[in-house]
Symmetry: C2
Subunit: 155 residues, 2 copies
């Protein structure tokens, strides 16, 4: 569970960002971010919509997508879980990476100093200037592995 304190910290940061950038800190935007910041599972747009609707029943699809784009553009949230059918989101702006289960699409966070320290190869510097790194470890999660065991029988 994510501590409420941290969620509110992220929300407060966002409100501050809005003020600085002259963007309105609307109820909808705040609730969308609050919902995302309180999730550990990196939900997709549809999931966020469903949850925020519990608090703001009339919120529209358009607002969800528009807001997610806005937040992403401002660097408040990030898009994770590459190239699946639906985009997944993450409000954790601390430096970290992801493990993705290719079976159930579960996404987990992890940190790695080693990864963060890797120098950019010269080869790449010649292509252009690097501004960000996206690392994703892919595999099968604990839960799916156990499920496979039960189905096929243990090795």
């Amino acid at each position: 569970m994510i501590p409420r304190q941290q969620v509110e910290k992220r929300v407060a940061e966002f409100l501050e960002t809005c003020r600085r950038q002259g963007v309105k800190a609307t109820h909808q935007r705040t609730e969308i971010l609050r919902e995302l910041a309180g999730s550990e599972e990196h939900p997709d747009a549809e999931t966020i919509l469903a949850r925020v609707r519990k608090r703001i029943p009339a919120i529209s699809v358009d607002t969800i997508y528009r807001t997610l784009r806005l937040l992403e553009d401002r660097g408040v949230i990030a898009r994770v879980g590459s190239m699946r059918d639906r985009a997944r989101f993450d409000a954790n702006t601390d430096r970290h990476h992801h493990f993705v289960c290719t079976e159930c699409e579960m996404i987990g966070d992890f940190c790695s100093d080693a990864m963060d320290r890797i120098p950019v190869p010269l080869e790449v510097s010649e292509m252009g200037s690097v501004e960000g790194v996206y690392v994703e470890l892919r595999g099968i999660c604990r839960k799916c592995k156990q499920k496979a065991m039960k189905t096929k029988g243990p090795t």
Copy 2:
């Protein structure tokens, strides 16, 4: 330019894979792979379709997508360039990573022993078993940087 020899090597490997796995090595599949293996630009499905149509005018959209999925599932090709609107493909199965220009979506290949050697954090081993790594460096390519210079004037 990619040497014809290498393209044909990949095609031959695919034909072998088909035999081993009991999948039919059709003309369409072969041409799709041949086209992709001969491209350095990591084309999307639509681009591949257009090019293969020069040789097989009647090939259908369905076949393109179905085949790309098949090749991906068999590990013959990979999907790259995360979470943009269209998927991009890569027939290079040698270990390498990608640089993606966030402006023009150009994708370039590079190798990095340092990246390949990074150990999987314990934290991740607890989530599940890692079977693959996807690394993407993001930034602005040479060409786009120059274009920006001309537009806004040099710094």
